[in-house]
């Protein structure tokens, strides 16, 4: 009966939509709004630009050998930094082409010869991702002081995640580590004043959009300013503060989790490589998985959302992607999704041999097929995966609905479709029943509908009516997992959007939960593409401005240059002056605290709670 009712509603909504559009299409488009945060009127779909896509195509890349030589010469003081900014150090042309159903990048350096690497094992999968890309955000304006990194400069959009390395110190010794933490011989650590300046700078140009401020490192919780930095980002108006963390601090010090939450910390972007201690052995702590579980427990108690992050290396832990997603679904009451990061050979790994690199290379297409295989096709590589930039379509709608009187635009993740892709899933916290949203909701059609709404740019009420019709007509109750109704689906969308449909008041967490499964593929010197760099959505905010994630960690290697310019001490000096910190390594177990450490020893029967913090 419910299915019949739902089908009727769907058909009525469909008819309503078409009737509405019959009139809407006959009326000239309204002008777009121009909010104060934007450099111009909100973009209509035809005004959004796209990078060159498809193949074969030529792009600008880097010679993996020339770049390293030049970077080292700059650090040694033999060449000037200005060469990096004004010149085209190590740049060569590259061709992206399809061969035997795969996509590869090939490039030739006149000095060092030809380099080739794999971009995709499935050309059709990659073509679909590119086809689903809705286009770039605004060109940046007023950012000359922030984006000043020559051909590596970011030119489009505001980004989605503002990464700030608080320190290069770490309490682990991993392999791989894209920043060579604890190994570079110096300490680079921001002062609180520097953190504040960087955050102030981040809202100094347009478009001024919401971002998730992500403190990183090294291990960001090693910084003495971690808590204050979280608070300052919140005070500035950012609604989401996260940290890329190994979680050891939260495992070892439960109080820290509560304090971090109180200070404004929302999300742990949580290093998590496998669901056994054995699967984490490359991190060189023999009981690391046990420590991770303890960190999850403590952060969950404190109300911190957790997104596990897994660096996937072919032949090392690629078999873990399925079990990891299973683990996330099984623990969906604590975990909000998972981010897989196909390996990027940077830092210590730039010296990798060609044979090892080819063997260990892992791409977004590997991920899509590995998950499809593990879940017997329940996750469909061609139906379920969308580029991260697809979120830009939803942001356009939110920006249109929120009007002009807002301080920040919505978070826009409009990165290059080769940079990342994701699936949205729903999962039931009690029964653990789950399904990709695309199984029962026509996301492709919904995005087209959104484009109509934002392009015609009618008033807020008419736009909301259209949005409601679009939601109804694209939801197919028959294909939804058992128990998930349209109101329930809207409820979880509303909750995920922070209560956008209810004036910012987040609805109560119900049985169903929206989950994100993402793949973020960072570049390395063999896959580098400047068209991706210039529209990066994960800028590193540094003392030298904001730099694309890949230009910072790989590419010409701005990280090493910036850190050398602003190092505060050699590691030896630091240890002498400020004491050593503990580093967990050497394949030994770490000592974990008792799970029920008493804070208060109350008289028998006194009933003083030991663990139930009520402040959150």
């Amino acid at each position: 009966m419910n299915e019949i009712l739902a089908a009727t509603v769907r058909e009525l909504a469909n008819a309503g939509w078409h009737a509405f559009q019959a009139v809407n299409g006959a009326v000239p488009e309204s002008e777009s709004l121009q909010p104060g945060w934007a450099p111009g009127p909100l973009l209509k779909s035809r005004e959004r630009t796209k990078p060159p896509l498809g193949w074969p195509r030529e792009t600008d890349s880097l010679c993996p050998r020339c770049v390293v030589d030049t970077r080292n010469a700059i650090i040694r003081g033999e060449r000037d930094l200005a060469e990096l900014v004004n010149g085209r150090v190590g740049e060569i042309k590259a061709t992206i082409l399809e061969e035997n159903g795969r996509v590869v990048m090939r490039k030739t350096c006149p000095v060092h010869g030809t380099f080739e690497d794999l971009l995709s094992i499935d050309a059709e999968f990659t073509r679909l991702l590119e086809a689903r890309y809705p286009g770039r955000d605004f060109r940046t304006r007023g950012d000359e002081r922030i984006h000043r990194h020559g051909t590596s400069s970011i030119r489009f959009g505001r980004g989605a995640v503002l990464t700030i390395d608080l320190t290069n110190r770490c309490n682990m010794m991993c392999n791989p580590c894209f920043m060579d933490a604890n190994q570079v011989g110096y300490v680079h650590e921001l002062t609180l004043d520097e953190v504040k300046q960087i955050l102030d700078d981040s809202i100094s140009f347009k478009p001024r959009r919401q971002m998730s401020v992500q403190f990183s490192g090294g291990e960001p919780t090693m910084s003495p300013h971690f808590l204050e930095a979280c608070r300052y980002a919140k005070d500035l108006g950012y609604y989401s503060v996260q940290a890329a963390t190994n979680g050891l601090r939260f495992a070892l010090e439960p109080e820290f989790a509560f304090q971090a939450k109180e200070a404004g910390f929302d999300i742990a972007y949580f290093q998590f490589d496998g669901v056994t201690n054995e699967a984490n052995r490359h991190r060189h702590i023999s009981n690391l998985y046990d420590a991770k579980l303890m960190a999850i427990e403590n952060m969950t108690k404190a109300g911190i959302d957790i997104t596990p992050v897994t660096t996937v290396v072919n032949t090392v832990n690629n078999t873990q992607v399925g079990p990891l997603l299973n683990f996330v679904i099984d623990n969906c009451e604590s975990l909000g999704g998972i981010s897989f990061q196909p390996v990027s050979f940077t830092g210590r790994d730039e010296d990798i041999s060609d044979a090892d690199r080819h063997r260990q290379r892992y791409t977004l297409s590997h991920l899509a097929h590995d998950l499809a295989g593990y879940f017997d096709g329940k996750i469909d590589p061609y139906r379920d995966w969308y580029p991260l930039g697809a979120v830009g379509g939803f942001t356009a709608l939110a920006d249109h609905l929120r009007g002009t009187e807002v301080q920040f635009g919505g978070l826009a993740c409009s990165c290059h479709p080769n940079c990342g892709s994701s699936i949205f899933m729903v999962a039931n916290r009690k029964t653990k029943v789950w399904a990709p949203v695309t199984q029962f909701f026509d996301v492709g059609q919904f995005m087209k509908d959104i484009t109509v709404i934002t392009d015609t740019a009618r008033g807020q009420k008419l736009s909301v009516v259209q949005t409601a019709l679009a939601l109804l007509k694209n939801f197919d109750q028959r294909k939804a997992p058992s128990g998930l109704t349209l109101p329930e689906f809207i409820k979880i969308l509303n909750r995920k959007s922070g209560g956008a449909m209810s004036g910012g008041r987040s609805p109560k967490l119900g049985d169903w939960k929206l989950m994100w499964v993402g793949g973020m593929w960072f570049q390395d010197l063999w896959t580098y593409d400047f068209r991706r760099t210039e529209m990066c959505v994960i800028p590193y905010a540094t003392q030298e401005g904001e730099i694309s994630f890949c230009a910072y960690n790989t590419g010409v290697g701005w990280r090493q240059i910036v850190e050398n310019m602003h190092m505060v001490a050699t590691t030896k000096e630091w240890f002498q002056q400020r004491g050593r910190h503990k580093i967990y390594a050497g394949d030994r177990p770490m000592e974990l605290p008792s799970r029920s450490l008493p804070v208060v020893s109350a008289p028998a029967g006194a009933g003083v709670a030991e663990h139930s913090c009520s402040c959150h």
Binding site: L5, V9, L12, A13, G16, N171, T221, M222, P224, H225, L227, E228, R249, L252, E253, E255, F256, F258, Q259, E262, A263, V464, V465, T467, A468, L469, L471, L472, L486, P487, I490, K491, N494, G499, M501, S502, G503, R505, S506, P507, K508, L509, R578, G579, H581, K582, V599, V600, S601, A602, P603, A606, G607, V608, A609, S612, C613, S614, C615, H616
Partner: protein, 396 residues
């Protein structure tokens, strides 16, 4: 199911009614159920609390807040600094020479957490008495406010065991003195999970019978007079204050100095330790604007400050009432039926929400009569329980 804007918004609205916005409430603090030591009281309230600010203080005429996480981190960092750089350990004496201010509280809890004896001397003590008191105590570290350190000749004192002098306010200090901010900066680097937990474990392990606080009470025949209390005794006194004051959720406690007396110190432990209250530290009775912004629910002050409250209330009561609308007049009528005009005036002077006042010492009968009915939250804080005197214990 009607597909229009109201329908979508209605769902959101109905759901928001059930939003997880109200945190689980703490159990009210009751006598006999509290932690056994002052250190455990501190650790407990840092972990379990229901407030946005642990402490409040005035800066440029506005109330600034110190949330629990910030206070706790500063305490841990200072303690780690004291331990690593000054060698402070269990049983050592740490002197805090200061008026009532947040930094003094940080210093106090840091010393106590290390198992040291925290000796507090109000910065208003005359210079010769202060030096004599410090010589008598023999501290390993002195933490002083500018008013205190000015009397100590730049920290160069004839104290053989003195390792360091730390300035609580580092705007102008001698080279021989370490600024608190510098100590906290280094302490921040030392503040790892392992060290922080070791600090907590050490603090938790300090026994109830171990000497905790010592307070300078003046001098007699040029001999410093002290009061001291063990970890357990302080915890019992805090419970007595809770029993008298009945703290409840959302309370703002107004603690007025500037003198950092023993009753003020105990009231600070009680306010911080209950997990509900935000404790505002003031060097003097605030202006009407400051009090209106704070809106305290409980007040702890010396008899002289309370006399000033009554004087202001009398002035306000004598002043002709400003013209008011019918709503205001009706509200006045309602209130007048419940409460004498003087008490209304006192409440008005203190921001309108105060429900109890505790003096830090015996009140003059006339003053007590003026306050009666409004306040009466127990005997003076300083007399909520017995404190062993120095002479009873054989001196410090």
């Amino acid at each position: 199911m009607i597909p229009h804007i109201e329908w979508v918004l209605l769902i959101g609205y109905l759901e928001s009614l059930f939003a997880e916005s109200s945190p689980r409430k703490l159990e009210p603090r009751q006598a006999g159920r509290g932690p056994e030591t002052l250190n455990r009281l501190y650790l407990h309230c840092m972990r379990e609390h229901e407030r946005k600010a642990a402490l409040l203080y005035l800066r440029d005429g506005r109330w600034e807040s110190v949330p629990d996480w910030r206070l706790d981190r500063r305490v841990i960092r200072l303690a780690l600094y004291l331990q690593e750089r000054a060698g402070v350990s269990r049983g050592d004496r740490v002197a805090v020479v200061s008026e009532l201010r947040p930094e003094a509280a940080v210093a106090d809890f840091a010393a106590l957490g290390l198992g040291a004896v925290s000796v507090v001397i109000d910065a208003g003590v005359p210079a010769d008495s202060l030096v004599a008191a410090l010589v008598d105590v023999g501290p390993k570290v002195i933490l002083g406010s500018p008013a205190g350190l000015d009397k100590l000749d730049g920290g160069t004192l004839p104290l053989p065991g003195l390792e360091q002098v730390i300035a609580l306010d580092g705007k102008q200090v001698e080279d021989t003195v370490v600024r608190l901010e510098a100590a906290l900066e280094l302490g921040g680097t030392l503040d790892t999970a392992e060290r922080a937990q070791a600090f907590r474990a050490n603090a938790r392990a300090v026994e109830p019978g171990r000497a905790a606080i010592v307070h300078y009470e003046g001098s007699a025949n040029r001999e410093p007079q002290w009061q001291e209390a063990s970890q357990g005794e302080v915890a019992q006194r805090v419970e007595a204050i809770w029993r008298a004051q009945q703290p409840s959720s959302g309370d703002r406690v107004y603690l007025v100095g500037p003198e950092l007396t023993l009753p003020v110190r105990l009231a600070l432990y009680a306010g911080l330790g209950d997990g509900f209250s935000s404790t505002a530290l003031a060097s003097s009775l605030g202006t009407a604007a400051e009090l209106a912004e704070l809106g305290p629910h409980r007040m702890i002050a010396s008899p002289s400050v309370l006399a000033e409250v009554v004087r202001r209330a009398r002035t306000a009561a004598d002043a002709p009432a400003p013209p008011r609308g019918w709503r205001g007049r009706a509200a006045d009528l309602f209130r007048q039926g419940k409460e004498p005009a003087m008490q209304q005036a006192i409440r008005g002077v203190l921001g309108g929400q105060v429900r109890g006042i505790s003096p830090t010492g015996p009140l003059d009968p006339a003053l007590a009569a003026s306050l009666e009915g409004l306040t009466l939250i127990g005997p003076p804080v300083g007399r909520t329980a017995h404190v062993w005197t120095g002479s009873e214990r054989g001196g410090v």
